[in-house]
């Protein structure tokens, strides 16, 4: 019996799964070459036919998003522009498998180098298309995953997800992967547990680890290989408690959040991309407590129009409810080429508002977009990483300057309330310096890591990184009390706000406004209903 091996990653779809691991790594293709190029062509043609047929079969039961993905793949396979180069390579003497792989790889490379996230993400769909035809070409007893298996590997193709029967459980554990992929989206909508970003640590897994049963905890983001008896028992308890909580939680989604004692708590959502709101019914939340803007700052710095449209979309979706947009929080663990700087200790360096103030020409573009977007809803703007009041005053002055400029040019705009993130300990310890700001939003992730001096992306100090440490809670309570005394609204937008285990202590600390990721909305409301304050 091998020692348990625990890997941590990021939850892409909450839930629990216990079962055998199924290795997703592709088996080396065993393609048998044909005698003539005419036979090679016939083999490729037949394989494309088989792959298209499989997709068509999956389409019969697919709906919405899934049907869209499949329809796209079928259209691609039916296009001579895709298959032509492979047939030409066969004519030139290549075997069918190499010809297909090469011409598809060229196509995939074109997507991988796109400067737009959306088109870059389509590379995964193209790889899926490539592999399905290769599978059909080299068909010789394709390994079938046992029922309830946990798929483990680098990444998983959308079609693999769709042709798997999830009715008897199972889950997905990926070394790479992304919570924004098609599969993650599908997994969330079908309730299939999925963890991404388990990392190269998985390479330490021995064959014995991979052969046994694994425990996938996609609520917190982790997997245990070769678990001990005690771990299995504890896992089963967490799993059934999760199922019970989730079932119960759904009944809370449509209602306002109220504690046992009748205390009303506002619950808003955190979003990272304007399209995040597409799946959320605005009536189920009290607004957007944190809209990140880093997504706009991908490979290139976004222009004013692009930003304005993104902000406006969310404001219009929220109708009269507040949308709190955070000015760009680049730096730290979020580098932006051409904007952030290389530093030895980036979490303590030029990040957040410090970077924006150091690069006013970039900041002013975002400010103008925000001032214009403010016309379309209930906008609030907050600055990340504020440490001293002077930073707030300089940022607010830039807002005033840009507003005067826009107004002079006759451009419709409006000054939103300007608030700050409370995440640098100096603010939490001495909030009295900030009595002039419009609101406080506690960034519990950064506040915790700065108070405990424990990076949140470092597993070896994860036991120190707890929002429930008395030092962190005392600071949160003192900010809440200060806000109440000075009539400055205080909310919290870190991960702790959506964590059922932390919600009771946050409410006890005096908070009445939490912002959570959309997937945790129902669970957070249910957890609030259990609080006796």
């Amino acid at each position: 019996m091998s020692e348990p091996l625990r890997l941590t990653g990021i939850s892409a779809s909450a839930g629990y799964a216990e079962g055998p691991l199924f290795n997703l790594e592709p088996v080396a293709a065993r393609y048998t070459g044909k005698a003539t190029s005419a036979d090679e062509k016939a083999a490729l043609e037949a394989a494309i036919g088989v792959a298209t047929g499989r997709l068509a079969g999956l389409m019969e039961t697919a709906d919405g998003e899934a049907a869209g993905i499949l329809e796209f793949q079928v259209a691609m396979l039916e296009d001579d522009a895709l298959t032509g180069p492979a047939f030409a390579a066969i004519t030139a003497g290549q075997p069918a498998d190499a010809a297909w792989r090469q011409s598809l790889d060229a196509e995939i490379a074109g997507y991988e180098t796109s400067d737009q996230d959306y088109f870059r993400a389509r590379a995964a769909d193209m790889r899926d298309i490539r592999d399905q035809v290769l599978r059909a070409l080299t068909e010789d007893g394709e390994a079938v995953a046992p029922a309830g298996a946990i798929f483990y590997g680098e990444d998983i193709a959308p079609t693999r997800f769709l042709e798997t029967d999830w009715s008897c459980g199972g889950g997905i554990a990926l070394k790479a992967g992304s919570a924004a992929s098609h599969v993650a989206m599908l997994a969330r909508s079908r309730g299939v547990p999925m963890v991404v970003g388990l990392g190269v640590a998985g390479l330490g897994a021995s064959p014995a680890h991979l052969a046994g049963v694994a425990l996938l905890d996609a609520e917190h983001g982790g997997i245990v290989l070769s678990p001990s008896k005690a771990e299995i028992d504890a896992f089963r308890r967490s799993s059934s408690s999760f199922t019970a909580r989730r079932d119960r939680a759904q009944t809370y989604l449509g209602k306002p959040a109220v504690t046992k004692a009748g205390t009303a708590v506002r619950v808003q959502v955190n979003i990272a991309d304007p399209s995040d709101v597409d799946g959320i019914d605005i009536s189920t939340c009290d607004g957007v407590g944190l809209m990140r803007t880093e997504f706009l700052f991908g490979k290139t710095l976004p222009d004013e129009e692009t930003q304005y449209r993104a902000y406006r979309k969310v404001l219009e979706w929220a109708r009269e409810k507040p949308v709190t947009i955070r000015t760009v929080d680049a730096g730290g663990d979020k580098p932006v080429p051409g904007f952030t700087v290389e530093e030895g200790n980036p979490f303590l360096g030029l990040r957040g508002i410090r970077l924006s103030l150091a690069r006013p020409e970039v900041f002013r573009v975002q400010i103008r977009a925000l001032l214009r977007a403010a016309m379309h809803g209930n906008l609030k703007v907050m600055f990340p990483m504020i440490a001293v009041m002077d930073e707030y005053q300089r940022a607010a002055a830039l807002f005033a300057e840009e507003q005067a400029g826009l107004s002079a040019r006759g451009v419709a705009c409006k000054m939103p309330p300007l608030g700050i993130m409370v995440e640098v300990p100096s603010v939490a310890i001495a909030p009295e310096a900030f009595s002039g700001v419009a609101f406080f939003s506690i960034g519990s992730n950064d506040l915790t890591q700065y108070v405990m001096a424990a990076a949140r992306d470092n597993a070896s100090v994860a036991h120190l990184n707890s929002v429930r440490h008395p030092a962190v809670l005392r600071l949160i309570a003192s900010v809440a009390a200060f806000g109440q005394a000075k009539r400055i609204p205080v909310s919290l937008c870190g991960d702790a706000g959506g964590d059922p285990a932390s919600i009771p202590v946050l409410i006890e600390a005096g908070l009445r406004d939490l912002s959570v990721v959309p997937a945790q909305l129902a669970m957070a409301k249910a957890a609030i209903a259990d609080v006796s304050v």
Partner: protein, 100 residues
């Protein structure tokens, strides 16, 4: 002398001419016998509007002016129908909002 037509239309779909809209666009283009092409600039390069591989390769983001031209039988109808599809936001409005 065969017919020819040309028009430009603004792509207002959230992520541009992406997977699903491209499927609809090429399917509609294939219903016409005229030769149909698209481009992101008036001077090209021009892509075959009936090939999803080529249309996707154009990677047209939201806010792009899409140029559409057709030559041959029913060229005018083909351009009109495709412009109309883009204007209607690929009939995705309501559907798009529901997906997570």
């Amino acid at each position: 002398m065969s017919a020819s037509a040309e028009a430009t239309v603004l792509i207002s779909h959230e992520v541009g001419l992406h997977a699903r809209p491209s499927v609809k666009f090429t399917k509609l283009a294939k219903t016409f016998s005229a030769e149909v092409e698209v481009a992101l600039a008036a001077n090209g390069p021009w892509f075959d509007a009936k090939s999803i591989v080529k249309v996707m390769a154009a990677k047209a983001p939201k806010g792009t002016m899409l140029h559409i031209r057709a030559k041959g039988d029913g060229a005018g109808e083909a351009v009109d129908a495709l412009v109309e599809l883009v204007r209607r936001d690929f009939d995705e409005g309501a559907d798009h909002v529901r997906t997570a």
